[in-house]
Amino acid sequence: MGALNGGVTAPIRAIGRLASGSLAEVGAVSLFALRGVAAMVIGPWFPGQILRQFAAIGFFSLPVVSLTAVFTGAALALNIYTGGGRFNAEQIMPQIVALGLTRELGPVLAALMLAGRVSATIAAEIGAMRATEQIDAMRTLSTDPFHYLVAPRIVAAMVALPLLTLVADTIGIAGGWLVATLTLDFNPAVYARSTVDFIEAWDVGSGLVKAVVFGFIIALMGCYNGYTASGGARGVGRAATQAMVSAGILIFASDYVLTTLFTDR
């Protein structure tokens, strides 16, 4: 009877532990997010910190985002050209490429590049502060870390990512334009004109709304994992990795939800 109990129920118990552990984690993250949002809405605010974070998150991400965008735009153009060719409709390529970039690839790729770079950096920074008691010190200096550290990063990311997405959209279209005019015999002015005439404001707008959500996710995951890091240097490293992975997963999941919302059927 005892052996049966142990052997059969062990995997079920393990699943149960995993489930309740995951639920607990979801709860903890949600509470953290609420505190972060409260700190954004209710003062005191630290505009100097917001600007600093905006420069770090936004400006210094420009190179990696633009490189990602130009190669993706070019590759996408080639593939859509191939697909269009099967319907004798190669000429529609500029429009489809622009649509794909503004609605999906611009925001998502920019966000993924930042999930790796920014989320991990925030987690490492805050995690290191946690490990060296700087977070405790800040509290004893009458300054709430949620107001000084977390809220500025979330605000900065929510503003920076839509701007980066605009850059990604533009550079991505430029990539498609380059490959089309240089290797596929498209007329450069026609390509540009077709793109501009076809794209609607909401195509770009829906991409920007996604970018705001993704920015929130990236900053939140970085701050949460850093703030709750434990275990010295190894813990900081683990926090950085977890931040990056969880931000990535949440970006894909929310992208699907948002795309469904934005698609009229």
């Binding site: 420009l62 409709a89 190669e90 850059v167 002015a189 540009a192 004109r193």
Partner: protein
């Protein structure tokens, strides 16, 4: 590096939104043509003679009185066109590549800068024609303006 990216982005955006505006006016002389239907023809599209590009469509506007589409074409100064030439709107494929083809006439005198191409044939509604063959209308069908 970030500054470079911002600069390139701004430059390309400016290009995207103003293309066709500066393509025509700088060099080349201007001719006009009126069409009953321009179809998918867009600003900046090619103007070709015998398959060779000789200019671009610099502007397309609607004449509010006659409901004709008024186009302005910027033509290479070294290409002279007889005054009875015909301008047609055609396309490379089913779904795109609309451009203007000019078939030179035989008249001894040439179109002057600012002149109008009198003979035009507008874009052909191919799908509409197919539809009429499959399901013919009672009255004779209208083609593009002649």
């Amino acid at each position: 590096m970030g500054v470079v990216v911002l600069g390139l982005t701004a430059a390309f955006l400016v290009y995207l939104f103003t293309v066709g505006d500066f393509g025509g006016g700088r060099r080349g002389y201007e001719l006009t043509a009126r069409f009953g239907q321009v179809g998918a023809l867009a600003q900046g599209a090619d103007v070709r003679v015998a398959g060779v590009k000789v200019g671009t469509v610099s502007k397309i506007t609607l004449d509010p009185a006659t409901y004709f589409a008024q186009t302005r074409l910027a033509i290479d100064p070294e290409v002279k066109l007889p005054s009875d030439s015909t301008a047609k709107i055609t396309s490379d494929g089913l779904l795109g590549g609309a451009h203007v083809v000019i078939e030179p006439g035989g008249a001894p005198d040439n179109l002057k800068p600012g002149g109008e191409i009198q003979n035009t044939q507008g874009a052909i509604d191919l799908l509409g024609l197919i539809g009429e063959v499959v399901r013919p209308k009672a009255a004779p069908p209208e083609t593009g303006a002649e």
